[in-house]
Amino acid sequence: MMTFVAGHISYWLIICLMMVGLYTLMSCSNLLKKIAGLSVFQTGAILFYVSLGKVEGGTIPIVAEGYSIYSNPLPQVLMLTAIVVGVATTALGFALIVRIREAYSSIEEDEITTMDHKDD
């Protein structure tokens, strides 16, 4: 049992990280914090991929003499794309928050909801 837990330690940490992100996303009413939570959640997914490619005792994927075991480079390459997507999402989220603040002069979700209800 202990070896199972210790052997998968990186995955346990990743699960914790993702849960922290998800919880922040759901519990915070501040829109900026929501985006922060989302980023943390995405980072968890990225780390998950990177740890998939890790080979025990392997080096970074380079061709050089004396190194025969190396990590799988494919997940890392994929994550370069996912990081770009994540950055774009965060940037767009921040841009929307700026516009929301201009329109509502608040970035607290509950205040915005009350204002919307007043409009109806």
Binding site: V85, L92, L96, R99, I100, A103, D116
Partner: protein, 502 residues
Amino acid sequence: MTEHISVLLIIIPLLAAPLMVIINSPKFSWLVSLGVTLVCTYLAYILMTDIQRGSEVHYAMGGWAPPWGIAYLIDPLNGLVTFIVSLIALSTIIFARKSVEREIDSHVIPLFYAAFLLCFLGLVGICLTGDIFNMFVFLEISSLSSYALIGMGKNRRALTASFHYLILGTLGATFFLLGIGMLLAATGTLNMQDLSMLLPAVENRPLLHTAFALIVVGLALKAAVFPLHLWLPNAYTYAPSTVSIFLSATSTKVALYALIRCLYDVFSFNYMLDSWLPQALLLVGTVAVIYGSWLAIGQSEVKKMLAYSSVAQIGYIVIGIGLLSDAGLRASLVHIFNHALMKGMLFMVAGILVYRLNSTRYQSISGMGKRMPITFGALIIGALSLIGVPGTVGFISKWNLAQAALAQQQWIVVVALLVGSLMAVIYCWKLIEILYFQPATKSRISKVEQGGDSVARMPVGMIVALWSMALLCIYFGFNTELTLQGAQLAVDALFATREVLP
């Protein structure tokens, strides 16, 4: 030549989008979008007919053979969906010009069209690609541009709607990404054909089940399947009219296509049979039909009513997927096509209302039916089609779906179909009654520049786009060969791959 078409469909809009930003002229960007969507529709049509005649198109990106490189594999299924997306994009652009001029500030119009083309490119990419990670990337390209497009709405609620969509959409995409990661861990490949070969042999079943659950939930969030539809009503209601038309008709449909592809192709048919998913899909679809129609009845705003009706219509498609039969899937695919036509058209009516009356609230459009006969004539065709009256496209898909459900003796589903149609009668009648049988109250019209008595003149582009969709709605209601055959071919192609598997 045909094999290059598949990649040209992506490259043309990809090159055109930055060009419009550089040239930065509203009129030019509309013309470019028109040209691009026209060419893409033509190419998609060639591609689709070519595939249906039996040729197979593989395109290995950069000459890297699959499973190492990214392969574009076109079969009748994605050929059909690509054509739907391109056709809707074309008619949306024809419709768009005046509507966009009215609703979007002139200095961001080029950016608007650029984002529109990027969204279009993402949706087409999801359809064409044969690589599941590539599918994720295209999913995010289309979603990111649609967040931006929705955020351009005039009402400040467009911003919060777009923000909610961003949060939920990104969550869905990340779930999908995790699922892909687990598939990669299990098999070491990302090519969908390759995955479908390797998955049955995977020993680690819990890993596979987790991946399955994550992928289904992620895509269901993007497709707004009940109860994951919460982002949809506000996003469609407050987005600029052009965006509502395009997104309502395509984006959820393409996500459903991705779901069908993952369920039937990547995970095999047999895998689904053993899981709880078919029952869950039937249940969720049935509830969605009733719930969506119920909320649609209670609305007092055209766009919001249409958005909730979309939730119900997505329910029909999900039921077809959940029936796990040839006929059910065929009904789903036909409904994807038919619903894209009618919902696109109805949102065009809403767009015209915004353009001419500056409001889509029931109270301010009452009695306008006689003053805007061209618009509301089309609306009636769309409403009849939503209800499923014979002679319209809505009837064809509902009839097929009911037959498929009867064949499996899913009585509850059949009852839900009937009740859903009855409820559609109620929400459509409510609108028609207000339009035709109520006195024209002094409608609160503001900012209408032209036209002496309160109703601005209708631009030609809008009439052309609206009525060509309306006529197609009727045409495909009578001539079912094209749609049903296309769907049948697509289903055959999906089930043919199943037989290869052990």
